[in-house]
C-alpha cells in the first residue's frame, strides 16, 4: 500500500486510543482505507469533520500530528491468475518474496449473491473419510466447520480433505495461525505438487490480531474471482474462525459497543453469516465451498462462537478420539451435514440414507450399553452385540485414516449388519434388505 499523488493528507489528530484514532478531515467516505503514519487503517465512524480510524497494528508510536493519508477506496484485492501459488498477508500484499500481483481491482466484502441466481448444490465432494462421505456428505457450495479442541488434528484432516477433493482451486485463509502450522500446510501442499492451485492469505500469531478480520474477505474475494469469472470449483479453508471472532470482539470493545453473550459483539451472527454465505453454487457451474475450523474451549458448543456458527453453517463436523480403538473418528452423533440429503441416495447408491441412519442408531444403542456397563449393570445379549458392532464400525469405517469409496463403505456396513444383527433389528425398508443383505 503506497501513497500516491492527489491523495488527501491530514495531520490534526484529536483522539488516540489503543486501536483507534480520530482525525479532523473532510470529504472522507465510509469504510475508506488510510495510512496513519504509514500504518494501515480503516474508517469506522464519521461524525461531522471528525473521522475515526481503526489502526490495525495498534496506535503506539502515533503522534497527534502524524500524517494521515486517505487512499480513497475501501480494502481492495487485485485478482488475476497470478494469484495461484502465492502467499499474501491480510492486506493482499505478497509475503513470499514474489512480485506484486497485477490484475483487476475488486473491493473485498462485496455484494451478496442474489438467492434466486444460486443453483441448488448437488455435487458430492468425496473425501474418502467415512465419517464425512458416508454420514455427513460434503456437497459443493456448502459451508461446514470442524468444531475441534485445539489439540485435535484438524489441520491434518483439513489438508487431507483439501488434497483429496476434486476441486480446481484451494484458498487458504489463516487467522492467528501458528507459524509451524503455516509451514505444515505449505509443505503438505508443496509435497503433493498442488501449490499451483493454492492461494494463501495468512495472518500468523506474529501479526497483529486485528488485521485478521480482513483475511476471510480477502480469501473469499479471490474465491469469487475464480468461481464466478473462471467458473471453477473453489474450496476455501478458513482456520481458525474462533480467533477471527476474538478479533471482532476486541474491535467492538474498543468501539464502546455493548457486548452480548460471552463478550461477543451483538452483530456476531451477521458478521459470520456474511463470510459463510459466500459459499455458493453458481448457475454457471462455478462453486465456492467453505471448510472452516472453529476451535472450542473444552468442547463447549454453547459458547457464542460455535453456537452462532452452527446456526449459519450447513452442519458441523466433530473430531473425537475413540479410546476403544485408539483412533480419531468423525463423531457420528454430533456431526451433521445439512446438504447431504441432496446427494445421498441420489448421487450415491439408493440404500445410502437408510444404511447411514441404521448405523448411527445401532452405534447409539452401543453407547447406551456402554453407559450401562459403566454403571455396573449386566449387559443383555443384544447390548454385547451392539458393542462389538460399534468397535468394528469405529475401527474399520469411521476412523479418519481409512480412505475408501462410498460404495465400499456401504458394502462394509451391510457386512457388519449381517455379522452382528438380525434383519428385524436394523430398521431398514424391506425392499432394501432384500436387495443388499449379505448372508453370512
Amino acid at each position: 500500500m503506497n501513497t500516491q499523488a492527489f491523495q488527501k493528507v491530514f495531520t490534526s489528530l484529536v483522539t488516540i486510543t489503543k486501536a483507534t484514532c480520530t482525525v479532523r478531515a473532510e470529504g472522507i467516505s465510509n469504510e475508506e482505507m488510510a495510512l496513519v503514519d504509514g500504518k494501515p487503517a480503516q474508517v469506522v465512524k464519521i461524525v461531522g469533520d471528525e473521522v475515526t480510524l481503526q489502526v490495525f497494528q495498534g496506535t503506539s508510536g502515533i503522534y497527534t500530528n502524524s500524517q494521515v493519508v486517505f487512499l480513497g477506496h475501501p480494502p481492495i484485492l487485485k485478482v488475476s491468475d497470478e494469484l495461484c501459488g502465492r502467499f499474501f498477508n491480510a492486506y493482499g500484499d505478497p509475503i513470499d518474496g514474489g512480485p506484486a500481483i497485477d490484475g483487476k481491482v475488486v473491493e473485498i466484502a462485496g455484494p451478496t449473491v442474489n438467492p434466486v441466481k444460486r443453483e441448488q448444490p448437488s455435487e458430492l465432494i468425496a473425501t474418502g473419510i467415512a465419517g464425512i462421505d458416508l454420514n455427513n456428505t460434503l456437497v459443493s457450495g456448502q459451508k461446514i466447520p470442524f468444531f475441534a479442541d485445539p489439540n485435535q488434528p484438524f489441520n491434518q484432516v483439513m489438508a487431507d480433505v483439501a488434497l483429496r477433493a476434486d476441486v480446481d482451486k484451494i484458498i487458504l485463509g489463516g487467522m492467528g495461525m501458528l507459524f509451524d502450522d503455516y509451514l505444515y500446510y505449505k509443505n503438505v501442499f508443496d509435497n503433493a505438487g498442488a501449490l499451483d492451485k493454492i492461494v494463501c492469505f495468512m495472518n500468523t500469531t506474529d501479526d497483529s490480531p486485528v488485521e485478521r478480520i480482513l483475511i476471510p474477505d480477502m480469501a473469499l474475494s479471490a474465491a469469487e474471482y475464480f468461481a464466478v469469472e473462471k467458473n471453477e470449483k473453489v474450496l476455501v479453508l478458513l482456520t481458525d474462525m474462533t480467533l477471527y471472532c476474538d478479533a471482532l470482539a476486541i474491535v467492538s470493545n474498543r468501539m464502546d459497543q455493548i457486548p452480548t453473550k460471552d463478550f461477543m459483539p451483538g452483530s456476531l451472527y451477521s458478521d459470520l453469516a456474511k463470510i459463510y454465505e459466500k459459499a455458493a453454487q453458481f448457475q454457471s457451474g462455478g462453486s465456492i465451498t467453505i471448510l472452516a475450523v472453529t476451535t472450542l474451549s473444552g468442547g463447549d458448543i454453547t459458547h457464542a462462537i460455535p453456537d452462532n456458527t452452527g446456526y449459519i453453517t450447513e452442519g458441523q463436523l466433530f473430531l473425537r478420539m475413540d479410546t476403544d480403538v485408539s483412533k480419531v473418528i468423525v463423531d457420528p452423533f454430533r456431526s451433521l451435514s445439512r446438504l447431504k440429503q441432496l446427494v445421498i441416495g441420489k448421487k450415491t447408491r439408493e440404500d445410502h440414507p437408510q444404511v447411514m441412519n441404521a448405523c448411527v442408531r445401532l452405534y447409539s444403542d452401543a453407547a447406551n450399553a456402554k453407559t450401562k456397563l459403566e454403571n455396573g449393570f449386566d449387559l443383555s445379549e443384544y447390548d454385547k452385540r451392539a458393542l462389538s458392532f460399534a468397535k468394528d464400525y469405529s475401527e474399520n469405517i469411521l476412523a479418519i485414516d481409512i480412505n475408501i469409496t462410498v460404495d465400499a463403505m456401504l458394502e462394509h456396513c451391510w457386512g457388519l449388519f449381517a455379522k452382528y444383527f438380525g434383519k428385524h433389528e436394523i430398521g431398514i425398508k424391506q425392499v432394501l434388505i432384500d436387495k443388499y443383505w449379505k448372508e453370512t
Partner: protein, 595 residues
C-alpha cells in the same frame, strides 16, 4: 402527513446508522433515500430516532463510500408494500423487491423495483353494482390469479361508508387502471380504486368484522403435530431448537403439506441454500390435496443471513402484511418465519448502535411487546361479508446455546399457543422430527370449540385417545428412568413392558421420515387409524418370560409398524404387514386389558 419530498444531508456515519441534518419536519419511521455521491447509488433508509435536532436513519444496505454532506431525500411514507394481483409464486426480498427482476448474479446496492406488474392485464369481473354501499375491505370484483379469485377490495385505509359511484363492466384492464370510483356517504370526496393498493407494513390490516376464537384443525400431515399437539387455523405456534435439530426440515414439511390455501415463507436471516431448496423444489412438488404445484400457493420473502440486517425486521412485517391482504380474500394463510431470533438480533444490533440501555442479553427492553404484537396479527377473522379467512403463524426460534431460558424464547412463549420444543437428545439419536413429546404442548387441546370439532370431524373419543397416548409416553419415560437407575434385572417386568410400549408410540407414531415419499405426509384418517391400532397394542397384555423377550418382541412390533408407515395407506402391502403383525402379536397376547 406531508407527502412532498424534503431534503437533508448526511452528518455522521457509524456502520448502517446515519445521522441526518434537515430543516424540515420528519415523521418517525419515514422512508428516505441517501445518495452516495461517490457512486450515485440511492440507498433506502428508515428514520428511527430523532435526537438533538438530528434524524437517525438506519440504512437498509451497506453504507460503504457514503460521505458527510451526501444528500438525503425524505419521501413522506412509512415502509409500505404494494398489494395486488400477481404476488403469488413470487420470490421477494424483505422490502418487497422482486428478486427475479434484479439483473446480475449479485445484489447490487440501491436496486429496487415494484413487485407488482402494474401494466399487466387481468380480466376483471365486478361483483358489486353502482350505488351499493361499501366499506374498507369489501369485495368489489375479482380477477383470476393462478387458481383462485383474487378479490379487488375497497382500500383498507378508507374510514366510514362509501357509495359506488361507478364500476367498470367485465373486461380486461391493467393493474394500474381505475376499475371503480367511490363516493363518501356523507360528503363529496371521490376515491378512485385501481387493482392495487399500498399499505404500511407496521400497521395491521383490520378491515374485517371480528376475530373469533380458533377451532378448526390445520392439518399438517405431521403426526406429532396433528395428533399430539394440533395447530389450528388462525393459531400461533413456535418451534425453538438448537441448531441441527431439524427445525428447517420440519418447517419445510409443514410448508409442503399443511392444509392452507396460501403459504408465505419468510426466510429471515437464515441460510440462502435453504431458500434455494424452496425455489428449486416447490415448482416440482405437488400439493397432495389439490394436485397443483406447491409454488402456485407459495410466496417467498427472503432476507437471508448475508442480506442487509436492517431489512430483516422489515421482512417479517412485509410477510405478515401480504398474509393479511390475502386473508381479506377469505383464504387460509399459513405464515412461516424462520427464524424470529434473527429478527430479534437485528433489533438488538440497531438498539445497540443507537446506544439504548440494554435489556437481558443486550436485547431491547421492549422485545416481549414487539413479539407479542406481531403474533397478535394472526387469527381467524370473519370478514365483512360473513366469509372467513385466517392467518396461522408459526415461527422458529434459534435459542443461543440451545438454552430455552433466553429472552427471545421466553418472550415468544408468552405470545404463542403451541410450543414445539426440539430436543437435542432426540436429534442425537436421530428420532425425527425431534419434537419433544413431553415438553411440547398445544393449548388448543383445552379449547372447547376445538374439542367439539375433533369429536365431530375425527372421532368421538379422539381427545381421550390423545391424552392416553401422552400418558403412555410419560409412563414409559418414568419406567426408563427406573430401569436406568436399578438395572434391567432389578425392576419388575412390567417396567420393561411400559418402556417398550412407549417406544412403540415413539418409533411408529411420533417419528416420521421426512425424506420418505409415503411417510412424509400422513393424513388425519391415517393418523387416526394408526393411533387407534397402536393404542390397542399398548392396552394389550402380553405373556413375557424375561425382559430380553420384551425387548425382542417389541422390536419386531416396531419393525412391522414402520413397514406399515412406509407403505401406501390401506394398500395390499400395508394390509399384509398389518396381518403379519396381528398374527405375530396373537401368539403372545393374553386376554384382558393391561393394568
Amino acid at each position: 402527513m406531508t407527502t412532498e419530498t424534503r431534503k437533508g444531508s448526511v452528518f455522521a456515519i457509524v456502520q448502517n446508522l446515519i445521522s441526518v441534518k434537515i430543516n424540515a419536519p420528519v415523521m418517525n419511521k419515514e422512508i428516505c433515500y441517501v445518495t452516495c455521491s461517490k457512486t450515485g447509488e440511492r440507498l433506502m433508509a428508515e428514520a428511527i430516532k430523532v435526537q438533538s435536532g438530528l434524524v437517525n436513519i438506519q440504512v437498509f444496505e451497506s453504507t460503504r463510500g457514503v460521505k458527510v454532506g451526501d444528500p438525503v431525500e425524505f419521501t413522506g411514507n412509512m415502509l409500505q408494500v404494494t398489494l395486488g394481483p400477481g404476488l403469488l409464486s413470487k420470490n421477494l426480498d424483505g422490502l418487497q423487491n422482486d428478486l427475479d427482476k434484479i439483473p446480475g448474479t449479485f445484489l447490487k446496492r440501491g436496486s429496487y423495483n415494484v413487485a407488482i406488474e402494474l401494466e399487466k392485464e387481468y380480466e376483471f369481473i365486478p361483483t358489486t353494482e353502482q350505488n351499493a354501499t361499501v366499506a374498507a375491505g369489501d369485495w368489489l370484483g375479482h380477477v383470476k390469479e393462478n387458481w383462485f379469485d383474487h378479490q379487488i377490495m375497497v382500500p383498507f385505509n378508507l374510514k366510514g361508508k362509501y357509495k359506488i359511484a361507478s364500476i367498470k363492466p367485465k373486461g380486461h384492464y391493467k393493474v394500474k387502471d381505475i376499475v371503480c370510483t367511490l363516493k363518501k356517504m356523507d360528503g363529496d370526496e371521490l376515491v378512485e380504486v385501481s387493482m392495487y393498493q399500498k399499505w404500511p407494513v407496521y400497521l395491521p390490516i383490520s378491515a374485517y368484522k371480528e376475530k373469533k376464537r380458533v377451532f378448526k384443525l390445520l392439518e399438517t400431515g405431521i403426526r406429532i403435530m396433528d395428533t399430539l399437539n394440533p395447530m389450528m387455523e388462525g393459531g400461533t405456534g413456535f418451534i425453538p431448537g438448537p441448531f441441527g435439530c431439524g427445525k428447517t426440515v420440519l418447517q419445510h414439511n409443514i410448508s409442503q403439506y399443511a392444509s392452507a390455501d396460501l403459504i408465505i415463507v419468510a426466510a429471515c436471516g437464515e441460510r440462502a441454500n435453504e431458500v434455494v431448496e424452496i425455489f428449486k423444489e416447490f415448482p416440482e412438488l405437488e400439493d397432495p390435496r389439490t394436485g397443483r404445484k406447491l409454488i402456485e400457493r407459495t410466496i417467498i420473502i427472503c432476507n437471508t443471513s448475508n442480506m442487509p440486517v436492517a431489512a430483516r425486521e422489515a421482512s417479517v412485517y412485509t410477510a405478515m402484511t401480504i398474509g393479511e391482504y390475502y386473508r381479506q380474500m377469505g383464504l387460509r394463510v399459513l405464515l412461516l418465519a424462520d427464524s424470529t431470533s434473527r429478527w430479534a438480533q437485528a433489533l438488538r444490533e440497531i438498539s445497540n448502535r443507537m446506544e439504548e440501555l440494554p435489556g437481558p442479553d443486550a436485547f431491547p427492553m421492549d422485545l416481549t411487546a414487539i413479539i407479542s404484537s406481531f403474533y397478535a396479527r394472526s387469527g381467524y377473522a370473519v370478514l365483512n361479508n360473513g366469509k372467513t379467512g385466517s392467518i396461522t403463524f408459526i415461527g422458529t426460534v434459534s435459542p443461543a446455546g440451545g438454552n430455552l431460558k433466553e429472552p427471545v424464547t421466553e418472550a415468544t412463549k408468552k405470545a404463542a399457543r403451541c410450543f414445539y420444543a426440539l430436543a437435542q437428545s432426540r436429534a442425537d439419536s436421530k428420532r425425527y422430527p425431534a419434537v419433544d413429546p413431553v415438553d411440547s404442548y398445544s393449548k388448543y387441546l383445552e379449547y372447547e370449540g376445538v374439542q367439539e370439532y375433533m369429536k365431530e370431524h375425527i372421532a368421538k373419543n379422539w381427545i381421550d385417545n390423545v391424552l392416553k397416548a401422552k400418558n403412555f409416553i410419560l409412563r414409559g419415560k418414568e419406567a426408563y428412568e427406573q430401569i436406568n437407575i436399578l438395572g434391567d434385572d432389578s425392576v419388575p417386568i412390567q417396567y420393561h413392558d411400559r418402556y417398550w410400549k412407549s417406544e412403540v408410540i415413539d418409533f411408529a407414531f411420533l417419528q416420521q421420515d421426512a425424506f420418505d415419499k409415503i411417510d412424509c405426509y400422513s393424513p388425519i384418517e391415517r393418523q387416526k387409524y394408526m393411533m387407534e391400532f397402536i393404542l390397542d397394542i399398548c392396552n394389550a397384555q402380553f405373556d413375557f418370560k424375561g425382559f430380553e423377550e420384551v425387548q425382542h418382541f417389541f422390536k419386531n412390533v416396531i419393525n412391522l409398524l414402520k413397514q406399515m408407515n412406509y407403505s401406501k395407506f390401506e394398500s395390499e402391502e400395508f394390509n399384509e404387514y398389518k396381518t403379519k403383525l396381528d398374527e405375530f402379536m396373537a401368539e403372545k397376547r393374553i386376554a384382558g386389558e393391561n393394568e
